[in-house]
Symmetry: C2
Subunit: 251 residues, 2 copies
């Protein structure tokens, strides 16, 4: 008696922050080997075309739909790659895929699923300016699409009080213009006005642009959807054109 087997596969990858030279060879190999790519259109556009490969581009907000489509295709025996930017496990598609598995077809649990790590935005942003993440740090998404603003404020406050460096993902969008200003307002009640604030736009691409400010004079309007904001710790400092956080709290 033969047991029905699932022969497809699903690999969740991140293309890195932008330049192809920041995509890992493991991710490039998964992309080259795929029969189907599923992802947000602009991320798919970064991937070199392969003959005969199907591309399923979708809107940025339909993450669960996209994950379900990818799982269905894999269950049909296709070699599917789900494409995120950055690292797929950081505010990206890997979590949506496992969420779709949890609530979806029981057979999806037997699929061959794998996650390939990548260079997430905060690492590329940090490299553009020096080493601001040199000490303990947090990564916090300012988007309240999936969690409450109260949760965001509570985490921001805790991170600021404990003197973590803070990397703010999704600091602003057209639908959410006010969050970053509110975050700065909260931070000003806790941290010194001299705290370095870095707006790094399009990190890891040829259009990278850095604005270095302090908490006192930081203007939330400097951030857009392509910006990563880094809030320094008390020891974060500038040396020449670089910003870094010493490894030691004693220095």
């Amino acid at each position: 008696m033969s047991v029905p087997t699932v022969t497809g596969s699903l690999v969740v990858v991140g293309t890195g922050p932008g330049r192809l030279e920041l995509m890992t060879p493991a991710t490039a190999a998964a992309l080259a080997h795929a029969t189907d790519l599923v992802g947000y259109g602009p991320y798919l556009d970064r991937v070199p075309l392969q003959p005969g490969q199907c591309r399923h581009a979708s809107d940025n907000r339909r993450e669960l739909d996209r994950a379900r489509l990818a799982l269905s295709l894999a269950a049909e025996g296709r070699r599917v790659v789900v494409v995120s930017g950055g690292d797929p496990g950081v505010f990206a598609m890997a979590s949506a895929v496992f969420e779709a598995v949890e609530v979806g077809e029981p057979a999806w649990r037997d699929l061959d699923i794998r996650v390939e790590p990548g260079v997430t935005a905060m690492l590329a942003a940090a490299a553009e300016v020096g080493a601001p993440l040199g000490g303990d740090f947090c990564a916090l998404s300012l988007s309240d699409n999936l969690k409450s603003w109260a949760t965001i404020e509570r985490r921001l406050k805790a991170a600021a009080e404990a003197d973590f460096v803070i990397a703010l993902y999704n600091p602003a969008s057209r639908a959410r213009p006010a969050q970053l200003g509110a975050a700065f307002k909260l931070l000003r009640t806790i941290r010194s006005g001299a705290t370095p604030i870095l707006f790094v736009r399009a990190a890891g691409t040829d259009q990278a642009r850095v604005i270095a400010a302090t908490l006192d004079d930081a203007d939330a309007a400097c951030a857009d959807m392509r910006t990563l904001v880094i809030v320094g710790a008390s020891s974060t400092r500038r040396i020449g054109r670089w910003i870094y956080t010493p490894r030691s709290e004693r220095s």
Copy 2:
């Protein structure tokens, strides 16, 4: 009248978590182009040999000395690459390089210094088990070589109370066998005993090994120098053989 110029360069890179396929092409190119590689011996051993290249291997603890050597070589006109594992900006050499610039020769400030981002250990560890870093998270080094244990406890407490996922770097070494046990003890006063605890050893290598436990039964002896420990958030869950943190706090 000619102005003296500095012609050397210094690139700080991370080789990623282990497998060469997780090193970015940008880092591989910097390594291939270098006249001198400076780094901790085991990281240098991962890098393919180039004819005529000088390798300056050193002990793991001599980070500032290593940074000074690299800067001196660059000031002599060499093309120097400082080699870390993972990402060079996360508990690694980039911060030490800028610290050495700050306290070192004034001419070092004019050097051509660049940081290349890489895949840091927590991203590779997360990929091995699913998507545990799918929500807001912190990266915290448990080593008290460069900061006080009181600071570590304060940050751990803040992160646990605010329900961040927590990635613990340097959870244990022969010289520091007790820290991780003390960290679990503190976490048990704040977080549910059912909180997932993941011990991921040698993530991103062919010897990767995962131990999934809960805060109640986690044994600090499962960690060594090559282990990354991930402490889940309240929403972090297991589905089949994967562990993930949903993007939404409401799910």
